[in-house]
């Protein structure tokens, strides 16, 4: 058993934190958020240059063979800096799915583009009709000659506006056999693709897609004919691990800022932190963060160690439930202890609060993960 970070891992975190401190101040971030694009192409190229876009890919695909722990360390710094860029969508999810399910040709063609920062992908999986049931797919893929015809609706496709192409999940009905979940690469501009773009609560961007008889070639389908449900679950679990780390980064900043604020802000003749009630509240925040660190670490280890789908899924769902609850508490208390200023957009406190809300609502709500945890228990 080894639960320590390697020197390389610590160096990665340190250099990432330094880069973001220098190049990604809250004012920069505010500017990116206000921009039409919602992300910064120059920063994205810097991510590529730093090797971050290559981090989780296998060395065979040109990557750095980074595991979920490495990913988590990087993402923790992203959460602390409220990074807007489409890292999870393009690299962790779509890149991860291509690496896991793509044919040799697809991997060769696509991953090099992704890790160079030239290709941005978004994962079109969630559907409006699914609502509280994460991952229930109704979109259909029907064979048309050599290719496929896709019909359905996708919603809350995160980072859709900056994506060049989408990785679309669909039920593949092969010659009357049982349906299998398949993955299809679809260009944003393909005929029949109707994309509506919008902001999400934390200022990042997303989109909804109506696929109305979209025709794609045979090569658009990732890999062979197997059901991709388990691959999708495994890669999505990695994304949840990454976002849990992002959230931990955000929580830690909130606690640090709250401690600093309450130590300096004087009310009724003494610093706020002299109030025992506030002091114990901050202790509870610290305890929740430490708990989040524990369960997120377990999820990161299980995401990679081949313990099997049920063990991995339970660990990841436990992390989602626990980190989301901790983050909700920490965010609410950070706002409360910052007083009126905490409820505004003047400080970054509100931005962290909204980032944490986005974590809660994405890739399965805590309620959904709680049920999944129980269901996997009985596997």
């Amino acid at each position: 058993m080894d639960l320590s970070h390697t020197a390389e891992q610590l160096a990665l975190r340190e250099s990432a934190a330094r880069f973001l401190r220098d190049r990604y101040s809250f004012e920069t971030r505010r500017r990116i958020e206000a921009s039409a694009e919602g992300f910064d192409a120059e920063i994205w190229r810097a991510f590529a240059d730093l090797g971050w876009l290559a981090l989780p890919f296998p060395a065979d695909d040109g990557g750095l063979d980074g595991g979920a722990i490495d990913l988590a360390l990087l993402m923790e710094t992203f959460g602390a800096a409220l990074v807007m860029e489409p890292y999870v969508s393009s690299v962790v999810l779509c890149g991860g799915l291509i690496a896991a399910a793509g044919s040799g040709g697809q991997r060769a063609e696509l991953i090099a583009e992704i890790l160079a920062g030239r290709l941005v992908l978004a994962f079109a999986h969630h559907e409006p009709a699914a609502r509280h049931e994460y991952g229930r797919v109704g979109t259909s893929a029907v064979r048309m000659g050599n290719g496929w015809r896709l019909d359905g609706q996708k919603s809350i496709v995160l980072d859709a506006p900056m994506a060049d192409r989408f990785l679309v999940t669909a039920q593949v009905g092969e010659d009357g056999g049982t349906a299998a979940l398949g993955l299809f690469l679809v260009a944003k501009q393909a005929p029949g693709m109707n994309v509506t773009e919008y902001r999400i609560v934390d200022g990042r961007r997303a989109g909804s897609i109506v696929l109305d008889g979209v025709i794609v070639g045979a090569e658009a389908k990732l890999g062979g004919g197997q059901d991709r449900a388990e691959t999708i679950a495994a890669v999505t679990d990695r994304a949840v691990v990454a976002l849990a780390a992002d959230t931990i980064g955000a929580m830690q900043v909130l606690l640090d800022k709250t401690i600093a604020h309450t130590k300096t802000r004087v009310q009724f003749g003494q610093p706020l932190a002299a109030n025992q009630v506030l002091k114990h509240r901050m202790v509870n925040m610290a305890v929740r963060i430490e708990e989040a660190r524990s369960i997120a670490m377990k999820a990161a280890i299980r995401a990679d160690d081949g313990s099997g789908a049920a063990v991995r899924g339970q660990a990841v769902s436990a992390a989602k439930v626990k980190v989301a609850a901790a983050a909700r508490f920490v965010a609410e208390q950070a706002v409360q202890l910052h007083g009126a200023m905490g409820v505004t957009d003047e400080l970054d406190i509100g931005a962290y609060f909204r980032r944490i809300m986005a974590f809660e609502a994405s890739y399965g709500t805590p309620a959904w993960h709680l049920k999944r945890y129980a269901a996997l228990r009985d596997v």
């Binding site: 609502r131 409820v343 609060f353």
Partner: protein, 393 residues
């Protein structure tokens, strides 16, 4: 004991309902249902204010001689509840519930004659200059100064969290006119014309993306000494009176019930989830409890008694339950909590929104709702007060 209204009260209830049916338009109701800010915009609440003004129903708590309707506490409760259930926007409290009672209690005859009718008619729109940057809940450490200069005060400083300062033509403010041993001394209560030179207003956007609060700057602003309310240096006691007045007026259960039922309508389908259903019931019971506490207070006012410390507790719980309602919105929407519409106010949106119209204000209400336990005194300060008053702690 009984929970029923008298025949006369029931007749009044019918009168209120009839009035609402006749005057509350669908447009106003829709605009208020779509409001995620703390207050309705003047263009939403204004027409409703004017309709109530023709009926003499603007200021339920004012004495009849000042233009109040002369209602009993029960009539007041019925009126507020019916308005809430019908989806009417609450009128801005700044004039009616805040400066009005102070003027009635401590204003000169001239001040009353001038200002009170203009509050009732809606001609004046007031904002409140209490909080200052850096003072927070510790109101008494304010530092905006008013210095005598001929027949005027010269006012310098800044106020913050000034709700609707960008709409208001009047402000009532606490300013420092002298130095006392206790920091509560030397504070005066001034009425300020918002159009006076030297005043500037900086908008502050809340977490939910709305603009109701502001920072107001005073740079050598001239305020006639005639605009001093009561005695110079006694402003703290008038201001405190107002705060208590504000806190006592707790009729919130009906509005919370409307909010919960809106979420229930949105949840349809998802409410089949037993955990979500349980949360709805738990919060509904919390609302039932707040409502019954409100009725206890109303009944003791009706009986001419002082409701006592239960009123402070009600304030604390009301703010917490309001937050529980708005927080439930996050769970109701699930993944649909993510999309966000930046345009405000929502009722002026003239294009297709990114989500169903009824879902538009859900998340902004949750985000802005974090202010419930902060604005008007943090819950922590409330607990200090209750501990002192009730438990002798």
């Amino acid at each position: 004991m009984d929970l029923s209204f008298s025949l006369a009260e029931t007749a009044f209830q019918t009168e209120v309902r009839d009035f609402i049916a006749a005057h509350l338009t669908a447009d106003i109701k829709r605009a208020w249902a779509l409001t995620s800010a703390f207050l309705a915009e003047p263009d939403v609440a204004g027409p409703w204010h004017r309709a109530l003004a023709t009926q003499g129903w603007v200021a339920p708590l004012w004495p009849r001689e000042n233009g109040g309707p002369g209602w009993t506490p029960a009539q007041h409760y019925i009126f507020e509840t019916e308005c809430a259930l019908a989806g009417a926007p609450p009128l801005a409290p700044l004039g009616i519930r805040m400066v009005g009672p102070v003027l009635i209690g401590f204003g000169s005859a001239a001040q009353k004659a001038h200002y009170l009718p203009r509050i009732l008619s809606g001609e004046d729109y007031w904002c409140q200059g209490y909080s200052e940057p850096g003072a927070g809940s510790d109101l008494a450490s304010l530092s905006t100064r008013a210095v005598h200069d001929g027949d005027d005060y010269l006012v310098n400083g800044s106020k913050i969290w000034t709700t609707h300062a960008h709409h208001a033509n009047r402000m009532f403010a606490l300013v420092r006119t002298g130095q006392g041993e206790r920091k509560q001394e030397g504070i005066s209560f001034l009425l300020i014309d918002m159009t006076a030179p030297g005043i500037s207003v900086r908008p502050i956007r809340t977490m939910g993306g709305d603009h109701d609060v502001n920072q107001v700057f005073f740079n050598d602003v001239r305020v006639p000494v005639a605009n001093l309310v009561g005695e110079e240096g006694k402003g703290w006691s008038y201001g405190k009176y107002l705060l208590e007045f504000e806190r006592g007026a707790g009729i919130a259960a009906a509005r919370m019930r409307v909010s919960l039922n809106r979420l229930r309508a949105i949840a349809l389908g998802a409410a089949g989830d037993p955990l979500l259903a349980a949360r709805f019931s738990e919060i509904e019971i919390d609302i039932d409890t707040v409502e019954m506490t409100e009725l206890r207070i109303m009944a003791s006012l009706q009986a001419g008694q002082n409701p006592g410390p239960v009123a402070s507790m009600l304030w604390l719980r009301t703010t917490e339950v309001k937050q529980a309602v708005t927080r439930l919105g996050v769970d109701v929407l699930g993944a649909d909590a993510l999309p966000s519409e930046p345009m405000r106010p929502f009722h002026r949106l003239n294009r297709h929104a990114v989500m169903d119209e009824d879902a538009l204000p859900v998340i902004p209400l949750h985000l802005n709702g974090r202010a419930e336990t902060i604005f008007g005194g943090t819950s922590e300060v409330q607990r200090e007060i209750i501990g002192k008053l009730m438990l002798g702690l």
